[in-house]
């Protein structure tokens, strides 16, 4: 557990360092994820000892977003006309975005790489 946390925090640190130093538009943890992914690909033996820790963290991923999500209350104009229109725009564009992305992927994947047993819901 301590070893796994050292690796995770270490890669977050490294990612944040690169983000700051090169003024990258990608958050440090995402860069850290990409780097750790690279390390995992060349050292597969690291995966098994880290899995118990990463499984627990990922299981609780939703709760970790709650403090940031509660930031919605700082948007005091939410209940104004513009605020409600903004939410309506977000609902409609998210709906269209999700459906069109899924549809385009399915169209392309059906021809080139149809889903195998594991990738398909029954």
């Amino acid at each position: 557990m301590i070893n796994a946390l050292i690796v995770l925090f270490g890669f977050q640190l490294l990612g944040t360092l690169l983000e700051r130093y090169f003024a990258l538009p990608v958050p440090g943890p995402v860069i850290g994820m990409a780097l750790l992914f690279g390390l995992f690909l060349v050292r597969r033996s690291l995966i098994a000892p880290m899995k118990p820790t990463t499984d627990v963290l990922i299981q609780y991923l939703p709760v970790l977003f709650i403090p940031a999500a509660t930031g919605i209350i700082t948007f005091s104009d939410l209940l104004s006309v513009d605020g409600l229109l903004l939410v309506l725009v977000l609902i409609l564009s998210t709906l269209i975005g999700i459906v069109s992305t899924a549809w385009i992927f399915c169209k392309l994947a059906r021809r080139w790489v149809p889903p195998n047993e594991e990738e398909r819901s029954s």
Binding site: F40, V89, A102, W103, L108, S121
Partner: protein, 238 residues
């Protein structure tokens, strides 16, 4: 003995109360979700946020004060995002196989999401600053803030738009994709991660591991692509 209000003021200044309240709200939300038979509208993140938001507004506690305690939970977000590298490696064979359709639908989905938000906002007669603030809403909040800032929007409004988008996705994605009978976990996860960043990815992981992995890929790639496409689209619109 102090009066109750004084005691509350004291507690409100310690991180403990907000830390506890965040976890307790999540547990209540999970319980409500179970009670509703797993209904999509009973999304735990959405419900917790509503309960917490109302509690703070009613008690007159500022978000800054709440966050001084809740930041201990927020802090774990960083290492957990890094931890997503593990399932990505485990399922890398599947992702690599699907890389071409992924990249093509990334390009299309990212552009559609920005153009659609900007177009609808324009159609509804929203202010230009507002439009520029909500355009990068599919990127994760810190990325969206940077983009909005660079094109003349308001960073805090961009963060709020991104968060609302994430919560909307966590609520509507599953019933929407079920209704339209999408059975490919890769498409379902990728679409949610691309459009609804981290909150969408967290939701995808609660539904299916493959959906979670593809949501991670969608989130990471679209974060970067949105930073490139949004300024280009506004340049084109001028």
């Amino acid at each position: 003995m102090n009066n109750l209000y004084e005691t509350f003021v004291y507690l409100a200044d310690t991180p403990l109360l907000w830390l506890w309240l965040t976890l307790a709200c999540y547990q209540v939300a999970l319980w409500l979700q179970r009670l509703s038979g797993g209904a999509a509208w009973a999304n735990p993140v959405a419900i917790s946020t509503v309960i917490l938001g109302i509690s703070l507004l009613v008690s007159g506690v500022s978000y800054e004060q709440y966050f001084s305690g809740a930041q201990f939970i927020h802090f774990l977000l960083g290492p957990t995002i890094v931890a997503l590298a593990l399932p990505l490696t485990v399922h890398w064979r599947s992702v690599k196989r699907a890389i071409l359709p992924l990249l093509l639908s990334l390009l299309a989905g990212s552009a559609i999401s920005i153009v659609c938000a900007v177009g609808l906002a324009y159609l509804f007669g929203l202010d230009e600053v507002l439009i520029k603030s909500l355009a990068p809403k599919s990127a994760t909040a810190p990325i969206a803030m940077g983009i909005a800032d660079s094109i003349g929007g308001i960073a805090s409004l961009a963060a709020v738009s991104a968060v609302i988008t994430g919560v909307i996705g966590a609520v509507i994605a599953t019933p929407l994709l079920n209704h339209l009978q999408f059975q490919d976990w890769r498409a379902r996860g990728f679409a949610v991660g691309l459009n609804c960043h981290g909150i969408g990815t967290a939701h995808a992981y609660t539904i299916h591991p493959i959906a979670g992995v593809y949501a991670t890929v969608g989130m990471a790639l679209n974060g970067m692509l949105t930073a490139v496409l949004t300024p280009l689209i506004f340049l084109f619109l001028k």
